[in-house]
């Protein structure tokens, strides 16, 4: 077992690889009462085309999420939720674009819960009957998300920015996709991706890491895994241009919103890794569009907006920056954002102040078992390893490093989505 020091934070992560190839990451906090364990598979909603050996497959959208739902069935009469419940543990699961995670919280019976987690995730039991039953539930879930305008705006904006990427698709799949999911698809995905070598376990809380490893090794030793043939995800090359430069849409919302998105190819930033890049862009946006910026203050003073926020994400080989604004003055605000993007500033005082604040946040993150578990998951999915030098990276947020990035944030490739109240369309 390796102990990885997190530099400058006085924290460490235990890392272990089991004999069958499952990576285990552990963070111990003896002051908490609860432990959280997440068994994650590197298979998410975007992975619907893949190759195993020479054979290529395509499965319906929404299958990762569908599989997550039915994986809880242990056999015809037993559901994993109920078994965890009997142990006094709270179990759940979630599916993201890039991975699927099965988890539980417990304060007692940690070994039994861990065994149960490994047993149910690594024991395939799928029937036509359960798929038919679950379709009704998942269709209701998909309909529920269509009644959430914030979710609709998020995905409709992605559809405006991206032309071909699978990130355009909602995680549950559309109702028509869900109807097209069958037993063979489920079995194919499970057999291809649910192998210890394509998975990782993150444990955070109050436990003995050596004891956990013994439980895991003993459990997995009783299971047989086929030789892992690493699947190759097939992705369509996402074109450089945004899908739509401007669009208006009427939704069940009460106040207009606009999303101003900039799509930048990652290859512009050859010498900067994704962790640093996202941190640098966030800082540039914070200085120029955040609550301490002249820009936001002016828009508020002139009563042009009621709120402004921003976010940065990586989609395939692109970075997408989105500025999200609540406004009744769409045209004027778009013009001002455009001007601001052409005149971004980097101020040394702002950098220093925000850097200190970031370091405080880094320290504070290491008291919450959910937060740390999520940080581990993000590190593994985004970088394939634990990032050990975050504090140093924050200290490296200098004017020079920001300048290397700011020159690529411009109005060359912009998509604007305007969301208006349906009520007004009809009147």
């Amino acid at each position: 077992m390796k102990e990885i020091e997190l530099e400058g934070l006085n924290e460490k992560i235990y890392v272990y690889t089991t004999k069958c190839g499952l990576k285990v990451y552990m963070w111990v906090n003896e002051k908490v009462t609860t432990t959280l364990m997440n068994l994650s598979v590197k298979y998410g909603s975007i992975h619907n085309k893949f190759k195993v050996g020479k054979k290529a497959y395509e499965v319906p959208n929404g299958i990762a999420h569908f599989l997550e739902h039915i994986k809880f069935n242990i056999d015809a009469n037993t559901v994993a939720h109920d078994e965890f419940y009997k142990l006094g543990a709270d179990s759940n699961a979630f599916t993201t674009f890039e991975y699927t995670s099965y988890l539980f919280y417990a304060n007692n019976h940690l070994n039994e819960c861990l065994n149960l987690l490994l047993d149910y995730v690594y024991t395939p039991y799928f029937t036509k009957k359960m798929i038919t039953k679950e379709k009704g539930i998942i269709i209701e879930e998909a309909n529920m998300s269509l009644d959430d305008p914030y979710n609709v705006m998020f995905f409709d904006n992605l559809k405006a920015v991206l032309q071909k990427s699978n990130f355009r698709n909602i995680i549950t799949g559309e109702v028509e996709d869900i109807k097209e999911i069958y037993l063979d698809d489920i079995k194919l995905v499970y057999d291809t991706f649910y192998h210890p070598k394509n998975m990782f376990l993150s444990i955070t809380g109050n436990f003995n890491p050596y004891e956990m490893i013994k439980v895991i090794e003993d459990n997995l030793a009783k299971k047989t895994f086929k030789k892992f043939v690493e699947p190759v995800i097939i992705t369509e090359q996402e074109p450089k241009k945004v899908n739509s430069e401007y669009k208006e849409e009427f939704l069940n919302i009460s106040y207009p919103q606009l999303k101003y998105s900039i799509k930048i190819p990652l290859n512009k930033f050859k010498d900067i890794d994704i962790v640093d890049l996202k941190m640098i862009i966030n800082l540039i946006l914070n200085i120029n569009f955040g609550s301490t910026s002249d820009f936001k203050e002016e828009l508020i003073d002139k009563e042009l907006i009621t709120n402004l926020s921003y976010y940065v994400d990586k989609y395939d080989e692109y970075i997408v920056i989105t500025i999200n604004v609540y406004t009744n003055y769409v045209e004027e605000v778009i013009k001002r954002i455009k001007d601001k993007i052409d005149n971004l500033v980097i101020n040394e005082n702002d950098i220093m102040r925000k850097r200190n604040a970031e370091i405080a946040t880094l320290i504070l993150n290491y008291e919450d078992i959910e937060q740390v578990n999520m940080m581990i998951q993000k590190d593994i999915i985004n970088c394939g390893k634990i990032i050990t030098d975050m504090k140093q990276r924050v200290n490296n947020l200098t004017k020079d490093n920001l300048a290397k990035v700011v020159k690529y944030i411009n109005n060359d490739n912009v998509s604007v989505s305007v969301f208006l109240a349906k009520e007004n369309q009809e009147s």
């Binding site: 709270d90 539930i137 009644d147 305008p149 508020i300 009621t306 320290i363 008291e367």
Partner: protein, 423 residues
């Protein structure tokens, strides 16, 4: 953990000393009886105080100062707790031992009370520009409630139950009510915040409680004596005939809300036994009776919630589902409750629910604001502390759960129809 209370004449300070957390969390709570007309004023006021102050006249100035104080967070909200309105100001800041700055704690306390006691006002009127900005934002928030089918349907169901009930009052008021507020009338409520409200301050963290209280006394110049006893419970009357109401919507799904009265609970029932009942019945996630019956056995929906509004003495069940399944869902909810009343659940279900409530209580220990919240209700309503609740849980019998189930009386069934409603 060491609990202490300091009576400081016009306010009380309640401290929990613990080294479990790297953050110190503080809540300054002003409380008064719930009066409908006052709600939009207090909601507006707390927003106004958190947006700027005399010495930090714009949000930007406030945030810069907060960043200088190592990302201190100060934020506010108003909350209805039964018949009481709480106007809360919360503060989170790093335990000074993690930073090397002389006098950090004093700077924090000085800043917090400076923001609260020096509002952005002149001649007893709030700054017009800031005022107008908050007004627009508040109106947007009021409108935005309509974007959320869950919130709209629960709000409409409470109105259908009894629009004059305090449980149906809107926390932010209506757009028309917000429009009536002026910078001068709002300032009157700023004065009322101190004059008419009872003030309690709660702090949790790795603190020297005596030093902390001395600093608060130094910077908090609150001089009004208000130690009125407030009653939390709203008396929602049972009905002989169930109210049925519905509205149309543009949503895809229908939203079904069923409201039950839960009257005459004693303290142990209110704080402990009803929680166990609801866990088995509907709030215990995928293992509850409602989930099993409505979602797993009949595939009628994805989400169900069963919320106990303790101080409103109501149980509110919400289900989002297809229009065509509404009748079936209503009959299944009734069937599940009947089973609870008839004791059709296992001793094992009871034991499992208690184990899971224990897990949730233990998890409270890992979160400073949850831990503090438990203490707040211990002070305001004698909610037993966590260890005492765990002891009480061990005493609960099946009969206790049946007895509280018998106290439920259906009051209202409300449906916000989806757009594909079958006639």
């Amino acid at each position: 953990m060491i609990f202490k209370t300091y009576k400081c004449n016009s306010y009380n300070v309640h401290t929990i000393k613990t080294d479990r957390f790297k953050t110190i969390h503080m809540e300054i709570i002003f409380r008064k009886e719930l009066i409908k007309e006052e709600l939009p004023y207090y909601a507006f006021l707390i927003d106004m105080l958190m947006e700027s102050s005399k010495n930090y006249p714009k949000k930007r100035n406030l945030i810069i100062k907060m960043e200088e104080l190592y990302k201190l967070m100060i934020y506010g909200s108003t909350v209805k707790t039964g018949d009481v309105l709480n106007s809360n100001i919360m503060v989170d800041f790093i335990d000074p031992k993690y930073i090397e700055e002389e006098g950090y704690l004093e700077k924090v306390i000085e800043f917090v009370f400076d923001v609260i006691q020096n509002p952005n006002a002149t001649n007893e009127e709030f700054d017009l520009k800031q005022f107008n900005f908050i007004k627009e934002r508040l109106k947007k928030e009021i409108k935005s409630i309509n974007d959320n089918p869950f919130k709209v349907s629960v709000k409409s169901a409470l109105n259908a139950m009894d629009e004059n009930s305090k449980s149906a009052y809107s926390l932010m008021g209506s757009i028309e009510e917000v429009n009536e507020i002026t910078p001068a009338s709002l300032y009157k409520y700023y004065k009322k915040l101190f004059k008419d409200n009872v003030c309690d301050i709660f702090i949790i963290g790795n603190i020297d409680a005596d030093d902390m209280v001395a600093l608060i006394n130094k910077y908090f110049k609150h001089r009004y004596l208000n130690q009125n006893k407030l009653s939390l419970m709203v008396d929602n009357k049972e009905k002989k005939k169930v109210t049925n109401a519905s509205d149309e919507s543009k949503n895809i799904q229908a939203n079904l809300v069923m409201i039950y009265n839960v009257n005459n609970l004693d303290d142990v029932e209110k704080h402990i036994k009803f929680q166990v009942f609801n866990y088995i019945f509907g709030s215990g996630g995928l293992t509850s009776k409602l989930y099993k019956k409505i979602r797993e056995e009949n595939s009628l929906c994805y989400g169900i919630s069963s919320m106990f509004l303790k101080y409103d003495q109501l149980l509110v069940i919400h289900i989002s589902l297809d229009n065509k399944n509404i009748k079936k869902a209503i009959s299944l909810v009734k069937k599940c409750l009947k089973e609870m009343v008839n004791g059709i659940f296992l001793e094992e279900d009871l034991a499992d629910a208690i184990k899971n409530i224990n897990l949730a209580l233990d998890y409270t220990y890992d979160n400073n604001s949850s831990l503090l919240n438990n203490y707040v209700f211990n002070v305001f309503d004698n909610l037993p502390l966590i260890e005492d609740r765990k002891k009480e849980l061990t005493k609960i019998k099946k009969e206790d759960v049946i007895n509280v189930a018998k106290k439920l009386k259906l009051n209202t069934i409300y449906v916000l129809n989806g757009k594909d409603m079958e006639q």
